[in-house]
């Protein structure tokens, strides 16, 4: 049953993905697009250099964010946790903005490393606070939002004091797939293929961790090591996503929730489903972003926030018990 649902999700992803190639400022027929995909030609730029890499990026980044969210929620056991609400995305964003402001021509690997260190530091800070104060899930979310806001104001500050350099950083930060091309595609896909085996290795263990740490230890799992691996994986995914597409809000929160609604609590299905749903959401958001009013481009991150923010408020209301 769950397998069937996963397969249908994958098919839906392919379908919408192919569909998204049709959307944009210039209208192309199916034949033109297929021709171009197979042997380039007149529309090579629009299809092969513009829409296709964007599609592949949307899949990679969306999957990365969804996966990151499902791992964070699984290991912290907090349905309000996600890479953006925990300040990880903002940490990666602030670090990368600083780099771009002071060194606009930074090579890609440096941007990746900087974003990653920013994400790791932010994660370390919030975990340290969580370790000291043992907050309830809702408090942890609040701490995360506070840190996130603080870091975002750092980003704003950098942009305001460096108006000349701000263009690169600004375009990159809005959380958009606009202006991305083939250079970013292998980055996110390589990250995913390295990290995915870890995610599946974690699946069964995260399930068992649901019994509590003592019981999990007694079943041959070392909770501290498991948590470290899961969080590292999640932070890497979220930071690289930010480095590739800027901060795209709420996919890391929404995708795992939707996955849980559809697949229940078994991480073996929850993990791939979160990745697929994250990818699906970002493709839809990005397609709408460039298709709603062409040639005007909206940042995809704005669209994900439009759905994500109300859902977050709904979640906060529903968990009154906290």
């Amino acid at each position: 049953m769950s397998r069937l649902k996963l397969t249908s999700l994958l098919l839906l992803l392919l379908l919408i993905g192919v569909g998204s190639l049709f959307v944009g400022a210039s209208t192309l027929s199916g034949k033109q697009i297929i021709d171009t995909l197979l042997h380039s030609g007149e529309y090579d730029f629009i299809v092969n250099q513009y829409r296709l890499p964007r599609l592949l990026l949307a899949i990679g980044v969306g999957a990365g964010l969804g996966l990151s969210g499902s791992l964070i929620q699984g290991v912290i056991r907090n349905p309000l946790a996600s890479p953006d609400l925990m300040g990880i995305s903002a940490g990666a964003g602030l670090a990368a903005t600083s780099l771009l402001v002071f060194y606009a021509a930074a090579p890609v690997y440096l941007l990746l490393l900087t974003a990653l260190s920013g994400g790791l530091i932010a994660a370390a800070v919030i975990l340290l606070i969580a370790y000291k104060t043992k907050p309830t899930p809702i408090r942890l979310a609040l701490i995360g939002i506070a840190i996130s806001t603080f870091l975002s104001s750092g980003i704003d500050f950098l942009i305001i004091v460096n108006p000349v350099e701000m263009n690169t950083a600004m375009v990159w930060l809005t959380g958009s797939l606009w202006g991305r091309n083939w250079t970013q595609v292998p980055i996110i896909w390589a990250t995913l293929s390295v990290v995915l085996p870890f995610a599946f290795w974690l699946a069964w263990r995260l399930d068992v961790m649901g019994l509590g740490e003592d019981c999990a230890t007694s079943l041959g799992i070392r909770p501290s090591r498991l948590q470290l691996i899961a969080l590292l994986t999640a932070v890497i995914l979220a930071s690289i996503s930010v480095a590739v597409a800027g901060t795209i809000a709420f996919i890391g929160l929404l995708a795992p929730h939707l996955a849980r609604m559809l697949f229940g609590h078994n991480h073996k299905y929850l993990i791939p489903a979160s990745a697929l749903l994250g990818a699906l959401m970002l493709i839809i958001a990005d397609t709408l972003a460039r298709g709603l009013q062409p040639p005007l481009e909206l940042p995809a991150g704005v669209l994900t926030s439009l759905i994500g923010a109300p859902y977050f408020i709904f979640l906060l209301q529903r968990y009154k018990a906290w």
Binding site: F200, W201, A203, W204, R205, D207, V208, G210, L211, G212, E213, D214, C215, T217, S218, L219, G220, I221, R222, G264, H265, N266, K268
Partner: protein, 132 residues
């Protein structure tokens, strides 16, 4: 057989168990009796390597617990805590399957023998009817 050698367990500055030498005989059921808060659970957790010993050591079949890999230890030693959080959305069958954790592969896949053992355990404890 489980034994301890000069086992000391502390939480922070507070020492709960000091210099304990204990042998739990093989093939017998041992009951640990004492008032609330006297350290029964602390001792059990130390015996199961959940709590670290601050001094001394715990031996399982005359080997220190540190010598065992996580899964290897879990195959021989098991602790069922008093309060067990039941994760949301888990069937009884799956809960029993978790018991195979120390034996299964990296990917958490149960083979036929595992499934058979799970069924057998559920039959013997008469919980098969609650499986799903």
């Amino acid at each position: 057989m489980i034994s301890t050698e000069n086992l000391t367990v502390s939480y922070g500055d507070k020492t709960i168990i000091q210099d304990l030498n204990l042998t739990l005989p093989k093939g017998k059921i041992t009951a640990l009796i004492g008032p609330n808060g006297c350290g029964k659970s602390t001792l059990l957790k130390a015996l199961a390597r959940i709590n670290k010993a601050s001094a001394g050591q715990v031996l399982l079949n005359n080997q220190p617990l540190q010598a065992f890999a996580d899964k290897q230890l879990a195959q021989q030693l098991s602790l069922l805590p008093q309060i067990l959080t039941t994760p949301e959305g888990v069937t009884v069958q799956r809960l029993v399957e978790y018991g195979r954790s120390p034996y299964i592969s990296h990917w958490g896949k149960l083979n036929n023998q595992d499934k058979q053992l799970v069924n057998q355990a559920m039959l013997e404890t008469k919980v098969s009817e609650f499986a799903t």
